[in-house]
């Protein structure tokens, strides 16, 4: 557990952590040792000369004072290490997340990572601040007390010592048997959470079928599974907890019996026996609390394991000696890319000379968007090479590559902030005038005029306060401002109504001027702007050529458009 914690933390915090644990151990030992002084104190008090207790009592008082100082110091150290680690972890996780390839971020990951980075991290780090000290003390104090007992009476001491291997064995066994149940429980929780989201999002349709609440079996089944899993977790933890209690209590009973026997036989004084039994009672409580602390530690451990898994995911390797691309040409050289067990791109070769425009057309799932993602190195290819400016993208530093490429995605995500801030993201150093010019070129000024607050208007989380077309225009302005030599457009106009489409097209036209462009498109109007068209299916180039040429050829490409173009001008109107 601590090893995993140290690995997650990275080694810079390991020393502080070890120091803190050492301090906690010393504190717990001090507590145990201070009890040694109870023996002479009680011997005097229960014997015939109670006044002899005072010097020992003063010594005990001094020991308690020493323990108090140590405890304060170790509490403080625990908290300090806790907060430092928390800050360190946030930074470590944040930096790591930023370096992970975009391909890693599937839709399910968004929720998972947000929980992990907020609550999960805090819970995992809470280990050191809240759980470590009680855990160390629950183990070390009884052990020290047993040592003290051994020093005073070897028979009773040995009997108490017999508990140690049993407690250790039970702890180890519980940890193993519950790990599986915990993992299962987590799996069920995740499954149920997915079903709940599905249930919420599909409400209109579900209601139409009268399937709400328990009548939507998929959800109800998963909720019942959650209960079953939690019952299994209880069943897995209960034997450990009961076993621990049983062991501790048995040892206490043995001490009680043995103590009575020895005292009756007269081989040990009554005061000694009673003191040892008082000490034994002091051992029992911390040991019993172990199962409670153990449960909490397990919770933190599974959070830690999830953090560990993310932190161990390798980002795409950065080149040791980065090469600068020489021009704005693009090339796919026998590229194969697999994703989710499928060949998304299959031995594809293709090149776009600098300044040319390539349109990528094909049915859904043909691998069109993946093509763009490989150019921007969201993923690395499995075979072949993707080159920008004649250089393999893996040999270009991420920064240099991104500086050359502007992407306009189909789904635009805007940050909660003003329009201006969102545009400026394209080139943070841009001047006021440049930002305005980009906005005007993307025909954003009419949007800004309409918004209450204009330029300073907030766009809401994810840009929710703007319509799809308006968001698209912001993203085009962003790309215009970036002024990169390569432009990638991903089905930019598919999600637009005609009014927005016209505006967006104007912006796109400006964006494409003089640049190397690859666009995924399925509006013929967009395609016609390209110098060349490739028709993609199943990750391969099926047809390639000019738009008119391909239409005349009457192959797949022509068939694709045939169903798309209806009798565009109805009889009644033309």
């Amino acid at each position: 557990m601590i090893r995993m914690l140290l690995r997650v933390l990275g080694h810079e915090y390991a020393r502080a952590m070890r120091r803190t644990v050492a301090l906690m151990t010393i504190t717990a030992m001090a507590e145990g040792l201070s009890y040694a002084l109870l023996v002479p104190v009680l011997r005097a008090l229960l014997g015939s000369t109670p006044a002899d207790a005072w010097p020992w009592l003063i010594a005990f008082g001094a020991a308690v004072a020493g323990y108090a100082v140590l405890r304060y110091l170790s509490d403080l150290a625990g908290m300090r290490v806790g907060t430092t680690m928390l800050r360190g972890m946030y930074h470590r996780l944040g930096e790591h997340l930023a370096r992970l390839p975009i391909g890693w971020y599937s839709s399910g990951r968004v929720g998972e990572v947000s929980v992990m980075a907020s609550r999960g991290l805090l819970q995992a780090m809470g280990v050191s601040a809240h759980l470590l000290a009680p855990f160390v003390s629950a183990l070390v104090t009884p052990a020290t007390i047993v040592a003290v007992m051994l020093a005073f009476d070897w028979q009773l001491g040995l009997a108490a010592l017999a508990a140690a291997p049993v407690v250790a064995a039970i702890q180890a066994w519980t940890a193993r048997s519950t790990a599986a149940a915990d993992a299962d429980r987590h799996e069920r929780d995740k499954e149920a959470a997915g079903r709940v989201i599905e249930y919420l999002q599909a409400q209109p349709v579900l209601r139409a079928g009268g399937r709400t609440g328990e009548r939507f079996e998929a959800l109800d089944d998963s909720l019942r599974e959650v209960r079953r899993a939690s019952r299994r977790t209880v069943l897995a933890t209960l034997p450990g907890a009961v076993g621990l209690t049983l062991a501790v209590q048995t040892v206490f009973t043995v001490l009680l019996v043995l103590g009575a026997y020895l005292a009756l036989g007269g081989s040990i004084g009554a005061a000694e026996v009673l003191t040892i039994l008082v000490l034994a009672a002091r051992c029992a409580d911390p040991l019993l609390s172990l199962s409670d602390i153990g449960g909490k530690l397990r919770g933190a451990r599974s959070e830690l394991a999830r953090l560990d898994a993310v932190l161990r995911t390798e980002p795409l390797p950065e080149p040791a000696e980065p090469v600068q691309p020489e021009h704005a040409g693009l090339e796919f050289d026998a590229v194969t890319f697999r994703h989710g067990g499928r060949r998304v791109i299959d031995d594809l070769s293709l090149s776009v000379p600098p300044g040319q425009r390539l349109a990528v057309v094909g049915p859904s799932g043909a691998g069109k968007s993946t093509l763009l993602q490989l150019l921007a190195r969201f993923h690395d290819v499995d075979a072949g090479a993707v080159r920008v400016g004649g250089v393999d993208v893996r040999a270009i530093s991420t920064e240099a590559l991104m500086a050359r490429i502007a992407i306009v995605f189909q789904n635009v995500y805007l940050f909660d902030g003003t329009i201006e801030e969102n545009i400026r993201l394209g080139r943070p150093g841009a001047g006021e005038a440049e930002v305005r010019a980009a906005a005007t070129a993307a025909r954003l000024d009419e949007v800004i005029e309409r918004l209450p607050g204009g330029w300073a208007a907030n766009v809401g989380e994810g840009g929710a306060l703007l319509s799809g077309g308006e968001r698209q225009r912001v993203s085009i302005a962003r790309a215009l401002l970036k002024d990169a030599p390569v432009v990638l457009l991903d089905e930019v106009t598919s999600a637009l109504d005609p009014v927005n489409e016209a505006a967006v097209h104007e912006g796109i036209e400006r964006l494409m001027a003089g640049r190397t462009v690859v666009m995924v498109a399925h509006r013929m109007r967009t395609v016609r702007r390209a110098d060349r068209v490739v028709f993609l299916d199943g990750g391969r180039v099926v047809e390639e050529g000019g738009h008119d040429e391909l239409l005349r050829r009457g192959g797949r490409y022509a068939a694709f458009w045939e169903i798309a173009i209806p009798a565009a001008y109805p009889r009644s109107l033309s």
Partner: protein
């Protein structure tokens, strides 16, 4: 402090936990018996001391009796606490399932429009995590809290009977600890607690933004500046967190020290030594204080210990209740039966917020057997208007009538049998293709499902899936956006309702889907009442009536040809679109027709 009491105090209307009252009582009783029995071994040590320390010969029989009693007490404690804990957790599972079912049931009845203003993730969190957070409330709090108070109380009575002076001395640490509690409740501390919660919320938001925007962030360079916002929120949070911890640490350390066993023992021993040396206390009477005295600190420790969890649980219960308290759209007491399928909007006004009307007085009649196309610039209220038909919202003024009956007077199940819709954001369930298509008509036969799929142009694609119509979507296969939309069209075709509302979505993802929509519209025409938000000129041109919406009001209506001839707003709109899509039309000449 029982949980049933809490249910009464927290929840006046439908009790969340009351049905489990007896089970809770059982958990508490078992726990209390077990915990009190746990005192037996300690008392056995005390009695052993009395026997051994008493002057004269030791009574062997009595010693062994005491030892046996102590051992028996331990056994009882083991059995009862284990039973209580097991029962508590089983009960916890039952309560959680019941709560989740109630939430699901409630969420299945709130107005659909209510969802649009909430994040799905947050609601899912209520059903999942928040219900789980109630766990300590149910499984731990009743038994453990009650025994944390009962056991010290029993001990206290016993100790008082032994010696009242030493009992008071033994209470000194508890009093010290309690005296420090107000310092934890200082306004500064409470403010820090609030700041802490707020900062935690900011971190959660920053993370969501960071992760969702990751593609943009990476594409627009500088991963270093990318997560600055997240790191700022994190640093901010850590700062507040450490301030909070620092503010608490001295007081908390003081409390913990006062309650720590060495300190309690020191206090008891000093008091005991003073009393014994002055002859006021028999030496054997010191033992119970050494053994039971430590237990007196339990309530304070339990309060401090379980406090955070209970606070979290209380907040979670609050959020659960908020959801359970959402009012569903009122159902009519005596549902009206619609006569025919004529849809009528009378003076409809609607706004999402009180001061901003999105629809400003709409009067519109949709005749059965006609297609009405709704056109207008974005933001004119088209989407809102069509959402009133399936009663996602109720109008703030005026009424929507179906077959002469106000929608509010129609039973909601009946309504959904009459009105179906195809909207832009298609949600597929992780279920088989057949189930997905038959979602609104659970009893549909396989042939009907296939027929609908064929008509929606998705049949061939389904056959390509690993297990055809039995393929579980999202597990065995993924569909593209366009394919998902065609599934949704198949759903509507299968539902075969007399009224169809269709957002000819801005986002029909590919030509095949656009074709499917047109085929569906053609197939459905006849006696049906169809309202469509039109984005394509051909849909507008084929409609019987065109309604032009602008800024929440109807500005023009009539047949397409009529409106074009009038040369008004619609004609201008039409011309601008015509030029906008002109590019698409050019290849017509090249195509063999």
């Amino acid at each position: 402090m029982t949980t049933t009491g809490l249910a009464q105090e927290e929840d006046p209307s439908p009790p969340l936990l009351r049905p489990y009252g007896w089970s809770f009582a059982g958990v508490v009783l078992l726990q209390v018996i077990g915990a009190v029995a746990g005192l037996a071994p300690l008392l056995a040590v005390v009695e052993l001391g009395r026997a051994l320390l008493s002057p004269g010969p030791v009574d062997h029989g009595q010693v062994w009796l005491v030892v046996i009693a102590g051992a028996a007490g331990l056994l009882v404690r083991l059995l009862f606490t284990a039973a209580s804990s097991g029962l508590g957790h089983v009960l916890d599972g039952r309560v959680q399932l019941a709560l989740r079912r109630r939430l699901a049931e409630r969420l299945g009845r709130v107005p659909i429009g209510w969802f649009s203003r909430r994040r799905t993730g947050e609601l899912a969190k209520v059903v999942g995590e928040d219900v789980s957070a109630v766990h300590p409330f149910i499984a731990h709090a009743p038994g453990e809290l009650v025994s944390a108070f009962v056991v010290p109380l029993v001990s206290l009575v016993y100790l008082f009977s032994v010696d009242w002076r030493l009992t008071l001395i033994t209470l000194i640490p508890v009093v010290l600890a309690v005296a420090l509690v107000p310092l934890l409740m200082l306004p500064a501390r409470l403010r820090e607690q609030e700041e802490y919660d707020a900062a935690m919320g900011r971190i959660a938001n920053a993370v969501v933004e960071f992760v969702q925007g990751i593609a943009v962030v990476k594409a627009f360079g500088g991963s270093e500046r990318a997560h600055r916002r997240f790191l700022t929120a994190a640093d901010d949070f850590v700062g507040i967190f450490s301030r909070w911890v620092r503010g608490m640490s001295a007081v908390a350390a003081g409390m913990q020290l006062a309650l720590s066993p060495p300190f309690v023992l020191l206090v008891v021993l000093i008091g005991g030594a003073a009393l014994i040396t002055s002859g006021g206390l028999a030496p054997a009477d010191l033992l119970p204080f050494l053994l039971l005295g430590l237990g007196l600190t339990a309530p304070v420790a339990a309060l401090g210990h379980g406090f955070d969890d209970l606070q979290a649980a209380r907040r979670a219960v609050g959020r659960i209740k908020d959801v359970l308290d959402v009012r569903s759209l009122p159902e009519p007491a005596r549902p009206a039966t619609p006569l025919g399928h004529r849809v009528e909007l009378r003076g409809v006004r609607f706004g999402y917020e009180a001061d901003r009307e999105v629809l400003r007085g709409i009067d519109l009649v949709l005749e059965p057997g006609t297609v009405t196309a709704l056109v207008g610039p974005s933001g004119s209220g088209k989407s809102t208007l069509v959402q009133l038909l399936p009663r996602f919202f109720d109008p703030t003024h005026g009424a929507v009538l179906l077959g002469g009956a106000d929608l509010r007077e129609i039973d909601s199940r009946e309504l959904y049998r009459l009105v179906s819709f195809v909207f832009q954001d298609v949600r597929l369930l992780r279920a088989s293709v057949a189930d997905n298509i038959a979602l609104a008509v659970p009893r549909a036969g396989h042939d009907d499902v296939v027929r609908a799929a064929r008509l929606a142009g998705i049949h061939d694609r389904v056959l390509e899936l690993p297990r055809g119509y039995d393929t579980v979507l999202g597990e065995e296969a993924e569909l593209s956006g366009g394919e998902a939309q065609r599934i949704s069209i198949a759903r509507a075709l299968l539902a075969d309702t007399p009224v169809l509302v269709l957002d000819e979505a801005t986002a029909f993802a590919d030509p095949q889907t656009e074709q499917a929509v047109r085929r569906a519209l053609a197939a459905l025409a006849g006696e049906r009442t169809i309202l469509v938000i039109a984005h394509r000129l051909e849909t507008v041109a084929d409609a019987d009536t065109v309604v032009m919406l602008d800024d929440g009001a109807i500005v023009e209506r009539g047949s397409p040809a009529e409106l074009l001839a009038r040369g008004g707003r619609f004609a201008a709109f039409w011309q601008s679109h015509r030029s906008a899509v002109a590019g698409d039309a050019v290849p017509q000449g090249d195509e063999p027709r």
